[in-house]
């Protein structure tokens, strides 16, 4: 069974609170977490910096409760895009982007949601939970994203903090479930404190509240997270494969200048 993973822990905190967050996550049973670096293009002069290597930040990683392995820490980049020109950064082969394990995009308009689902090379599409969605989900881009292996991410820690956010979270989640039928969902926290983290089975139960079935809810915390991580890894490997196949050629028929399609008919 795939281990549980929480794919969104904010990176901008100091080292001590990050360490306590990691220990809380390991104690709750998460096998992998991702440190999220958010880049918002509305502010001026945003540069993609190199991701901080987890081995530098944490000399010793805590052991996951229930297993004997240490917790795995990945790096993740989230791009908040509100304008189509912001997506150009993803198309360019910027060296720093390739260093992140997972790339997520947070579209703010319907057109950008469509672009993110159909053409952009990302692993996760974040769904806004802190305000009412400015657009409705439509089936074609969502189905294309599911075919491409892109997952939709929902956050649950705003729901813990504030009751208005709770309503938006649940309503946005339910409208997403109606379109995607529960496939390709990842639920993660954006917890800034260890107290905002919840155990993996608790989060799976929250999935039931959003309208997922039991198996889909459990997959949202385990299997789909692992698939996202693997999707990110495939981006780091080869972009395309060219292979050659030796085609047998008959020597006697070479001089006739027939096109290949007619040659096949006469050969039979």
């Amino acid at each position: 069974m795939a281990g549980f993973a929480d794919l969104s822990l904010p990176q901008g905190l100091d080292k001590k609170s990050l360490q306590s967050l990691l220990e809380a996550a390991a104690h709750l049973g998460y096998s992998a977490v991702a440190l999220n670096h958010v880049v918002d293009f509305k502010e001026k002069k945003q540069e993609i910096v190199k991701p901080v290597s987890p081995s530098e930040l944490f000399p010793s990683l805590p052991i996951v409760q229930g297993t004997s392995k240490r917790i795995k820490v990945l790096t993740r980049l989230t791009l908040v895009v509100s304008d189509p020109s912001h997506c150009n950064l993803l198309r360019s082969t910027s060296a720093n982007i390739r260093l992140y394990d997972i790339i997520a995009v947070f579209p703010k308009t319907e057109k950008l949601f469509h672009i993110a689902c159909t053409t952009l090379d990302v692993d996760l599409v974040c769904i806004n939970v802190t305000e009412k969605l400015p657009f409705y989900f439509r089936r074609p881009p969502v189905n294309m994203a599911i075919d491409r292996g892109i997952y939709f991410e929902l956050l649950y820690s705003p729901a813990i903090k504030d009751s208005t956010m709770r309503r938006y979270t649940i309503s946005n989640a339910i409208s997403l479930m109606q379109i995607c039928k529960g496939k390709n969902i990842v639920i993660s926290s954006a917890a800034e404190r260890p107290l905002e983290l919840r155990g993996p089975y608790d989060v799976a139960n929250l999935g039931l509240l959003f309208g997922l079935s039991e198996s889909e809810a459990k997959a949202a915390v385990s299997t789909n997270c692992r698939a996202t991580i693997l999707h990110g890894e495939t981006r780091k490997s080869a972009c395309g494969v060219v292979y050659t196949v030796k085609k047998p050629r008959k020597v006697e028929e070479e001089e006739t200048p027939l096109p290949a399609c007619k040659k096949a008919k006469t050969q039979a």
């Binding site: 709750l28 049973g29 409760q65 229930g66 649950y156 729901a159 813990i160 903090k161 009751s163 709770r166 404190r193 107290l195 905002e196 983290l197 919840r198 155990g199 089975y201 608790d202 989060v203 139960n205 929250l206 039931l208 509240l209």
Partner: protein, 126 residues
Amino acid sequence: MEPPAVPAATFERRVVRSGAEHHYLRVRLELPDGGARPNVAQFKQLVVSALRELHGEVGAALPVDVLTYEEKTLSAILRVISSGLVKLWSALTLLGFYQNRRCAFRVLQVKPCGGWTASPVCQFSL
């Protein structure tokens, strides 16, 4: 000579279709600041208010019993009817504050009924 006939093995299969009537949750409230700890009445009130916040009056009317409560460790065993398990569990998960202090409910074990030796859902050590 034929060996003596062995009687065919018989077994009886009983299928319980009603399922578990109640679910039992072992929970622990994490309250890291050194303030006053809730007693059992306040704990029950906290659970009911969490249900009311998330599921409204219908949720608050759900029959939940606090079977055991330890004030020192803030751990308790709750009993709820099986149809209300998802509501109670989600209400406890999304609870963030107790008297304006940050807190978190950790659900340690969920059992359909009976003993605590085997849990189909999860087992965590305290």
